[in-house]
Symmetry: C2
Subunit: 192 residues, 2 copies
Amino acid sequence: MSLLLENIAKHITLTAEEEELLLSKTEIRAYKAKTVLLKENDICKESFFVLNGIVRSYTIDENGVEHLVTFACPNWWIADMYSYISQQRGHLFIEALEDSEVLVLSKENQELLYHRIPKLERYFRILIENSLVANQQRLIDNMSFTAEARYDKFCVKYPELIHNIPQKQIASYIGVTPEFFSKMKSKLLRNQ
Amino acid sequence: MSLLLENIAKHITLTAEEEELLLSKTEIRAYKAKTVLLKENDICKESFFVLNGIVRSYTIDENGVEHLVTFACPNWWIADMYSYISQQRGHLFIEALEDSEVLVLSKENQELLYHRIPKLERYFRILIENSLVANQQRLIDNMSFTAEARYDKFCVKYPELIHNIPQKQIASYIGVTPEFFSKMKSKLLRNQ
DNA sequence: CGCGACGTTGATTTGCCTCAACGATTGTGG
DNA sequence: CCACAATCGTTGAGGCAAATCAACGTCGCG
């Protein structure tokens, strides 16, 4: 419940009233595994802060292939950022990979909070800066490394996911087919 | 000179005094083509707002291959965001592709301005949000499309660059070798 | 003028994909 | 609580996009 407040406190200091106001503008929701929270062509009117469980965002390309954009573990925000900031129809799907509880903040309430608690601009600026850095690094990794090296990096970055989600999700994240991923893994095992 | 102020005015409203304060904390610099503004293992202590010319950032991987991260045309900011926010040694190179003039904002002065003009948090938050969206889309494009489709997208996004920078820079941006890019282009011409 | 950066073209290789078939596991309705 | 379907992972054969390596032409600039 106050996982969000702890997270915020790492970056800015809120008064008790501000914390109360903030929480009063959010809502807790529980989703069963495989529930779709947002689909392509929806307008993303809310962003989600994961309290427990795992949520992912992904696209489906013109050939019907899924590409995993983001894993959101507890303590992370997730949304279709393009659609959320522009309020245009987006291209992402957002889906619970496990039974999950999330804290929901609507775009409307976020704008309201920005005006009432300007410090929050700082909090979100910092989060988004970090996302941008991580995303840029992932792009560089995709251009620089083989699938094997990208898998190594994945294991370091998301150790808790390796044995807790279907392999095909990992394959989709590092950008290979499930078949190739399977062969790659068995090759790694053979070479001990 | 007030290109920056115009850019800021698109997102927030500053008073004349605030504008003056802001500009007093920046500095204009001119760089000759091929000048390196930042190199790997440097700490990025300033970010650059391009007034004219073209600036790029890139990495060099373990095989010595360059990967283009960002083109900065006039009206765009560029920095090694990772190093800039963490003040750790970074991995990016930043280089002027043409003779360029840039406006320089030091990390120190940026923090100072955040305190004196909190509205600037909003301005930079919005810019970074947009960067994140663009970067995420580029990652999706890399995973979803062939080099040919990525080149088409590049031509739409950066029409002014196509005939004004070496082809190898474009190849590096879309993530192929100069040789393959050359063959791809001549194939496109052959098929009219 | 001459050198270095750039672009082109060809031959060959390779990392990864596609398609297909087949176990293993899971979960769900009867 | 079992049966059966769906989902997932594995393995193999063959194919393709893009890389690699090498040679060569061109041009702009010092």
